[in-house]
Structures are given as C-alpha cells and as structure tokens.
Subunit: 205 residues, 2 copies
DNA sequence: TCTTTTCTTGACCATACGGTCAGGAACCGC
DNA sequence: GCGGTTCCTGACCGTATGGTCAAGAAAAGA
C-alpha cells in the first residue's frame, strides 16, 4: 500500500528511499527541466528501479510537486528571518548575504525554481499566491516602515526585493555563463564584496 | 535539395517559411525549454506540416541552434552600443534602460537564453566563449578605465555587468512571479524608476 | 506550353517515455 | 519458524516524438 493511507508513519526504508528519490529528482529536474527529465534518469540516479520509484510516488508530476513544496520553506526561510527589531541596513545586508550563500550551497534548488518560474509556474503557481505573496507583502510593509522612519533610502520595496533575488540567484542560475566569463577568478568572494557594497550604497539613507 | 547547397540564394518561399518556423520555434522553445518543445507544436504554431519543417531544417537541434545564434547579435547589441567617448554614468544608465526595454520587448528571447544557460549551455557554450566573452572583456576594460579616471565609483566591472543583466532580465525571465507579487501595478514604470535610481546611486563616484 | 526544380504532405517507422501488473523477495511482529 | 505486510522488479503496454520517404502539387524556367 502506498502513502495514500491516511494514518501510517513511514518506515525506515520508506524514509530512506523517498529521500533518495527526491535527491535524485532534484539533480535531474534542475538540470533538464520538468519535461526534459525522465523517470529512468531519476531511477538510475537514485540507484532504484523505475517501478520502485512509482511505488513511492504516483507519478512524475507528484515527485516534482513534492520537491517544489518541500523546498519552498527552505527557500523562503532567510526572508522570514529578517528581524523587524534589528538594524534595518544590517538586516537587509544579512538577507542579501544569506541569499548569496544559498545560491552557492543550493544551486540545484535555485535552478529548479528558476526552471519552473520561467515556464510560467504551471505547477507551483498556486503556491506562489498562497505562500510567497503574503510573505513578500509583509516584508514590503516592513521595509516601507523603515524607509518612512528614515532608516533606509526611499524606494519601491518590491522592486528592491526583486533586485536582491535577481542579483543573488544569478550566480546559481547562470553559473554556466559566469564560469565562462570569470574563468578561475574567486567568483564567490567577488560577488559577496560586490553585492555588499552595492546594497550598502543603495540602501543608505 | 535542402539548404546544404553551398551557393544558392534562398527563394522567396524559403525565406518566408524559415522565418515562420523560427518564430514559432522561439515561442515554443522559450516556454517549454528544449526538451519540452515538440516538432508538432512548432509545426502547428507555424502553420506548416511537420515534414515540411524538416524540409527546411535537418532536425530539432538545428532549429534551436539557429535561433540561439541568430538572436545572440540582437541580444548583445546594447552592450556594443556603449560609447567609450560618452559620459560614463549616462552611458551605463542608457545600457540599463535599453536592457530593461529589451526585457519587455523580447521576453521570449530572454527566456530562451535563460533556459539554455540554466541547463548548462549545452548547445550554446562554445558561442559564449567565442562571442560573449571578448565583448564582456572589452566592456570590462572600458568600465575599469572609467573607474580609474574617477568617473565612476570603484567596483568589479564584471560583477557590475552581472548585476545589470540579472536585475533587468529578471522582469522577463521571472515574469510569472513578478505578476503574482505586483498584481495590477505598473511594473514596467516602477522597474525603470527603481533601476535608474539604483544604478545611479551605485555608480556615482 | 512543357520541363525541371522546388515545395508539401499523408503514411509510416523506430525509439523513448510514463505508467501498469503479476509475482517474487525481504522484512517484521509473533 | 511462520504469516502477513512491505518492498522490489522484469516484462509489458499505449502513446508521443523525432525523423523518413515516396509521391503529388506548385513555382519557375525554357
């Protein structure tokens, strides 16, 4: 019986294999996109047989959705950690640095989301509305309060957030391009210094 | 006989149909990615039959590569238009605005490139090295000269370029997300004002 | 007009892919 | 050790997809 049974805590094997599958799927989906990924690739990558994959998940789409949902929390955590009581400039800079770190630490997750959004968010659209939007609205209000209090330079809070996302995730999503253009240089360190300077200049009242 | 014949100027019909195909392919590839796109979709979208598509192109991959190569020039044109003799700050701001305009005007092209790069640039990698890198190197040198002359704030020129690309293309590549978060607001105008202010603050010596 | 070349297509093919199923193997409480 | 449940797989199926081909329709020369 599969996981459809309502009350049944997952066995040791179940936990291990679902993790194997999701990890393999993250690898494959993030590099080939949803349509480009195949169950065979995921199975091989996970070290399991294809029917076994379908023993744990009802189909390809469920794997993808499970991944996206599970990752959403991790992905938004840094924004949730912005402290309304902290120093505005330092809080936002900390957020920038945390996002950049995540770009380096979880590039596959970043690309998974990027792939999904670029293609019109066909499978995660509802979750954007329900999960992301409230958080962004709240954070925007917080930023606007800081600006009104003269703690930050005046600007559109949502566009500021877009700029932070864009500049930090760029290093994960466009890594192939960055690698070509930067060669052997210390990309990570350079990016950190650049973004710190950039947002410091931008936000200083 | 197909286009492999070396010396043969394309007929009227040939020109029209190749254009139809490439335009349809841009639409389909940019929204579904390379693997997600099918020849049938492209054929339907172009109003031609599938075998007819394959009369003009040897296969799916050739269509994709032709698209990428043909678009590269258009895509890099704004960077080529930066005037070394112009006012540094205004030249770069003009570049930012031009890139943002292209995001609005050619979102499909932007997503096509984004898809390709995210997946590791498997089909355009060589062209990045040969076409993009020299131009970026040259532009970086120009920027560094301006910085050394005290016309711009000091920073890493390559990371500056990344920041410009990331923030402007974000509005095309992540349009689905922006739409959810901004609702009916005037995204275009807000983005223009925000990026102008942002890079002005950043670059002012 | 007649001929040659270019263009177009319906029918077809081989493969790849998502998914199913019957039955066997491994695990687990007893 | 035994019975029942969970876990696993080889073989298989229907469909979608990239691509081919022979032959007809349309243009283009002559």
């Amino acid at each position: 019986m599969n996981t459809a049974s309502p009350t049944r805590k997952p066995s040791r094997i179940q936990k291990r294999n679902r993790k194997l599958i999701l990890d393999a799927a993250l690898e494959v989906f993030s590099t080939h996109g949803y349509r480009g990924a195949t169950l065979d690739q995921i199975a091989t990558c996970a070290g399991l047989s294809k029917p076994n994959i379908l023993y744990y998940f009802t189909g390809k789409e469920e794997i993808h959705i499970t991944l996206l949902n599970g990752l959403m929390d991790t992905w938004l955590a840094p924004m949730r950690e912005i402290d309304p009581e902290g120093d505005p400039l330092e809080e936002i800079l900390r957020y920038v640095h945390r996002k950049l770190e995540m770009s380096r630490e979880f590039p596959r997750e970043s690309r998974l989301f990027a792939n999904e959004i670029i293609q019109g968010a066909p499978r995660i659209g509802p979750h954007l509305e329900a999960g992301l939007k409230p958080l962004v609205d709240e954070t925007s209000t917080l930023f606007e309060g800081w600006m009104a209090a003269g703690k930050l330079a005046q600007m559109d809070a949502r566009h500021l957030i877009f700029s932070i996302w864009a500049t930090t995730q760029h290093y994960a999503d466009f890594a192939a391009q960055v690698r070509v253009l930067m060669g052997e240089a210390d990309v990570e360190g350079g990016a950190r210094a650049h973004l710190d300077m950039m947002f410091r200049r931008l936000l200083r009242p």
